[in-house]
Symmetry: none
């Protein structure tokens, strides 16, 4: 069957895996084409170049993650619950979407060179900050959260605690000689992340 969309989707999926595993420089267009079930020519037909394909993968990954975050509908929950939900979500999202971390890591190594070229990424992020801001305001008013928390810094801390565990799991397991990726360690880590964040926002 001939379907432009299906072909593009297959290429994007194959590219996502390849770029996540090897980064932009290490990825091979031959392998992407091979894995996609189509061929190299199609890759260039639809995406123009390896770099443009990479950017498409990046945009897709970001969009999907923000979409999932938006769908949490955090404002419907009470503040502490909302924050806990977000921490757990972050952790689970990284767990289930194992390409996002290497993609982000790779793009950061490049100084966000490609992401900067992308339009339409700003607003989806600002809305996230607004949501957090609202949660923090309510919690502050209700006397359950510390006053003056910066929503972006909170978001960074939440991300950091889960991100680092996944992003650096290989080297950490290696140097500490302890398999940090096991299910038991994973549970421990998620609980730890929730606790650290809640401790840091709760008014005592």
């Amino acid at each position: 069957m001939r379907s432009a969309e299906r072909t593009q989707r297959a290429l994007l999926a194959a590219a996502e895996t390849e770029f996540a595993e090897k980064g932009l420089a290490g990825a091979r267009v031959d392998l992407i084409a091979g894995r996609s079930g189509t061929n190299k020519r199609m890759l260039y037909y639809y995406f123009g170049s390896k770099e443009k394909l990479y950017l498409a993968v990046l945009e897709q990954a970001y969009t999907a993650m923000r979409k999932a975050e938006r769908e949490l509908n955090l404002t419907r929950l009470d503040p502490l619950e909302a924050i806990k939900t977000l921490v757990e979500f972050k952790f689970n999202y990284f767990l289930k979407n194992s390409t996002i971390i290497p993609l982000l890591a790779g793009e950061n190594m490049l100084g966000a060179k490609y992401l900067k070229r992308s339009q339409r990424l700003g607003e989806m992020h600002l809305s996230l900050i607004k949501v957090l801001h609202e949660i923090l305001s309510v919690g502050e008013k209700n006397g359950v959260l510390k006053p003056g928390i910066d929503p972006l810094h909170l978001y960074m801390s939440i991300s950091a605690l889960s991100y680092f565990y996944f992003s650096n799991s290989s080297t950490l397991s290696t140097v500490f000689g302890r398999d940090l990726a096991s299910p038991a360690e994973r549970k421990l880590r998620q609980a730890h992340a929730v606790e650290v964040i809640l401790d840091s926002v709760r008014l005592r």
Copy 2:
């Protein structure tokens, strides 16, 4: 004559920069040789291959970081002070040694493939955990720290809060439209990290 050592040092330094900027796959042997002021033949003479040079860079970076950590002599401080010192140290170390994060990020993208080949990295890390364990024991006994804190998880959280800020600064600044690398933001971030960690270990 020391010229042998000088040559090796120059190559290592050039390689560190190049690998940090582009990762293993993106780094160019020609550029490393060029930047080093020596030449390609020397690179192969002393290091054998691009991959072996990469591993040498990695080992050097790890060794330097652990050495600096050891020299903190944390056990001489009281527990809360020791933990605060470690958080601040981590932050400052990443700030001053800007190649370490991309190097770690790159190696993790490769599943720690090269680090696993390295000998002599295990013990220096275990001693770090021992130090933390001692601090936590004392603090627990003194009633200033929560009981049952896992030293490795604490270490991960401490690292995470600083690491993520530096590692993902490019993409975060891009998507949130806010320059997170400015000195003001940096100070804010460090204070935030200290606060989050201390809140999470202190017995209330």
Copy 3:
């Protein structure tokens, strides 16, 4: 319906431009199809291949030029006038039909490989030589033209003086730092060509 013919014409016109600009090897089938307003499938439907399309363009260009030459009806003029008319015609034809020179140049670079495949080009040229021969005979008899002029060599000289000016205008203008394509230079050149040819045929 005429749409078939219109399609072919559009393709030929687009191809003429493209082949004139880039030569056979440099021309792009996609661009020809794009410029033509039709599509690639039509190109292959009507012309079979890029090379056959190229030959079609070439034949058309030659046919049109010879047709225009024939329509000069040179034999109705007196010899010197006829020759002057031909010189001016050549110059103006190259000026107005700017694709003919690059097409000829490209085909000559290929050793006339494609033109040789073409039928039906011989006779139209021989008739041109016959016309020149007649003009030269009359002029010789009347005592206004030198005896023994070879019509083909005369034709070559006439062509040469105009052709070279147009064909090499770019490089000449570049190396001599003088814009030879300006209207003033053009007039000068045409007058010069007429003078050189007439000087060379006139009996003194």
Copy 4:
């Protein structure tokens, strides 16, 4: 033996042939490398890209031709003799250096795009014009040459008469069914060119 200069020379020579035969677009770097006796990597090592190699070939061809022209030392001859010598030289140069015409033809089809990038071509040409100017002045003063001849236009006519014969020999031979490249025709052509030019400059 290893010799940078020899390798470059071999590549340039092979490239000259290939570009002359097929033009920039039609030339194949694999063939150039093969013909050169070295390899593709060397081509990129020394010249950077196909286009830069092409420009190097072009510059070399131009330089060689102008050098040969300079070495004629035309000013030592009397005016008519000098002009005759130049006409014959042009003819013979094109005959013996059969790559120059296709190279010029190809570059002109590209609108002199590459030549324009080249430095150091201006002055060598202006000196040629000065020489012609001097010859014309002397001839005019001595009463053997027409007054007011433009040296550049004279140079163009001289070039044209020989250039066109060689550049368009393939198509002309094809359409007129007469082998214009034979030695007999060649002699005829050279004599014709000399005659036409001298007729056009001589004061009657």
